[in-house]
């Protein structure tokens, strides 16, 4: 059954996954080409100077991309459940409901992690060709909060999609904005080093919102 659920979720999200993966890799290529252009035109030392003196890690352009990808994937995965009334059937499957919802979310998380890892690896591998490991890890640590924000956005948007009441959807949307705000509040490099473990716990805790929506759906809550 577990495999069947994974396949069901994969069939729903594969197109979106491929588009998001392509988008993420295109963005990584754009960042790499931008850095390469600076390196060719002004020299590698200019990149080092900008990184060390201006605290510019050359990754600002992709700041909100993980969130955009996560929102798209969550909508692609969860919206059909509600719009095509599939959720009722899904919940009637001979499988524990909590585990069922957890598996649905896990599928999305795995897909997101694949996209995020491939994008970050591409940037990190390119950076490591001409930067010392201190600066490469600085770039990676600066981007990590944005990826955790993406996971949080995925859980919040999933909860919104699975919610049956419009009023509660609006409330969840506002809560989602408040929940994502701390991930983007501080632009300084490595500003989140100490806060990041707590944000990861918080991000995964937001998966509980989807369970809340499912219970309300089962109870037949409507506007």
């Amino acid at each position: 059954m577990t495999r069947a659920i994974f396949i069901k979720e994969w069939l729903k999200t594969r197109r979106c996954f491929i588009i998001c993966l392509a988008l993420a890799l295109c963005f990584a290529a754009y960042l790499i080409l931008s850095m390469n252009r600076v390196a060719v035109n002004k020299g590698v030392d200019h990149i080092w100077l900008i990184m060390l003196m201006k605290d510019n890690m050359f990754v600002e352009a992709m700041k909100y991309l993980p969130v955009v990808i996560a929102v798209a994937l969550a909508i692609a995965q969860m919206a059909p459940e509600m719009s095509q009334k599939r959720l009722k059937l899904t919940l009637h499957l001979p499988y524990p409901q909590t585990r069922l919802v957890a598996l649905m979310l896990l599928t999305g998380v795995v897909e997101l992690l694949v996209i995020y890892c491939m994008q970050l690896s591409a940037i990190a591998i390119y950076d490591s060709t001409f930067l010392p490991h201190e600066l490469t890890s600085r770039v990676v640590l600066t981007t990590l909060p944005w990826y955790v924000a993406g996971l949080t956005a995925y859980f919040v948007v999933s909860a919104i999609c699975l919610e049956c009441s419009t009023k509660r959807r609006v409330v969840l949307g506002l809560l989602g904005v408040c929940a994502l705000y701390p991930f983007f509040v501080q632009p300084a490099p490595e500003a989140y080093n100490c806060f990041l473990p707590w944000l990861v716990i918080f991000g995964f805790a937001t998966s509980l919102l989807s369970f809340c929506s499912i219970y309300r759906f089962k109870e037949g809550v409507q506007d």
Partner: protein, 406 residues
């Protein structure tokens, strides 16, 4: 799972409102308070404040003294308005026995700033190093960076190809070992830019609280241990490179006393009282007449005037940071606030702050309303008690979710 997810929803809503409501309150109701620009006249020995074109003498108790016309203000503050005085032919040849001219005043005036936001931040673990004695007149951008290793060595990396310069690494490591520099480096300060009159290199503090000055001169290492008075242990170094070249920076000891480090490595106490670079904003406006030192933190703003020759205190004025009316009213509404950033550092973290006992009265009223509403909704007694207790503690932040997330 249902209970856990519901509790999490309420916790999330409470935390979100604890951030969003005070933020919206401050956005909608700006307090309008501002601090006037305050300077010190070397001629009259008075603090002169200027705000929106109006100037006045600041009385010792902080109240507004006599008004000062623009022309009088220019004359009283020649160190700042010398261009205006010169253009109108009112700049004398000497002031207080010192020869003055626009050129002299321009070359000796300086502004030095230190902000906790720039101090409390995560620095990269590689440091750029400039050539202090470049072959040509102008400084050049650094060609190498260095890192400190766990076994107490310096490793220089060529920027061009990201390879280690073994020769330079060995030379600098030997000098550091010979001078007794104790790793790890506790603090450092440098001003890596080509737009400066001279290069003071790095001021470094070793693990024993000893202060060092490191330079790269014609590719060779220069490391000087700077003798601090008595048993002073350095805590924070700040490099300063002014056109007159008299100083290379400041050092703050573990007790919060500040010392001026001269270009001849003479260290003298700056009589400004306690200064904590990790908490206080520092602004020094220096001239040949005085140094006006402004130290601002969450509690107060202090203007201290020191003699530029012996760094002794000449005058001071302290303005406490008081709560505005808007903030006072806010303290009756919000029992605390949540923020994720601060003006005092460059870190993101959860900050639960501005605790207010004044909000307890509103919390009490809201808790009673919660009891009435929840009893009408026929909630279980235990849920009513828990909700009322929660509202009593976190007030309006939980009251709104309890009413709306039914």
């Amino acid at each position: 799972m249902k209970k856990i997810s519901t509790i999490f929803l309420y916790l999330l809503a409470t935390a979100a409102l604890a951030w969003a409501l005070p933020w919206m309150y401050n956005l909608l109701l700006p307090d309008g308070s501002r601090v006037p620009y305050i300077s010190y006249s070397p001629l009259s020995g008075e603090f002169i404040a200027t705000d929106q074109g109006e100037s006045w003498v600041v009385n010792p108790d902080g109240s507004k003294g006599r008004g000062v016309a623009v022309a009088e203000r220019d004359s009283l503050l020649p160190q700042q308005y010398f261009v205006q005085l010169s253009n109108t032919g009112r700049l004398p040849d000497s002031i207080l026995g010192r020869e003055v001219s626009p050129k002299i005043l321009k070359n000796t005036n300086f502004v030095f700033r230190s902000s906790p936001r720039d101090v409390n931040k995560r620095f990269a673990d590689v440091y750029m190093i400039m050539e202090s004695r470049p072959a040509r007149v102008d400084f050049e951008d650094p060609k190498e960076v260095f890192r400190t290793t766990s076994d107490g060595r310096l490793e220089f990396i060529r920027i061009a190809d990201c390879t280690v310069n073994d020769d330079r690494s060995a030379r600098f490591s030997k000098v550091f070992a010979d001078r007794g520099f104790a790793f790890p480096m506790r603090d450092f300060s440098a001003n890596v830019t080509t737009r400066k009159p001279f290069d003071a290199g790095y001021l470094m503090i070793d693990d024993n609280g000893k202060l060092y000055n490191m330079l790269q001169q014609a590719g060779m290492p220069f490391l000087k241990a700077i003798q601090l008075p008595g048993s002073v242990k350095a805590d924070k170094a700040l490099v300063m490179e002014n056109p007159d070249g008299r100083h290379i920076g400041f050092v703050v000891d573990t007790e919060g006393t500040t010392y001026v480090v001269g270009s001849e490595y003479d260290v003298k106490r700056l009589d400004i009282g306690k200064f904590d670079p990790r908490r206080d904003n520092l602004l020094i406006m220096g001239s040949i007449f005085n140094w006006i030192v402004r130290i601002a933190n969450d509690d107060q703003i202090a203007w201290k005037v020191v003699d530029p020759d012996n760094y002794s205190l000449v005058a001071e004025f302290v303005m406490p940071q008081t709560q505005s009316k808007i903030e006072q009213i806010g303290a009756y509404i919000f029992p605390f606030t949540i923020a994720y950033d601060s003006l005092n550092d460059s870190f993101a973290r959860l900050r639960v702050e501005n605790f207010s006992l004044s909000a307890l009265w509103l919390n009490l009223v809201l808790a009673l309303v919660t009891v009435v509403v929840m009893r009408r909704r026929r909630k279980q007694p235990i849920a009513v008690v828990a909700a009322a207790a929660g509202v009593l503690v976190v007030g309006v932040f939980l009251f709104i979710p309890l009413l709306t997330l039914n």
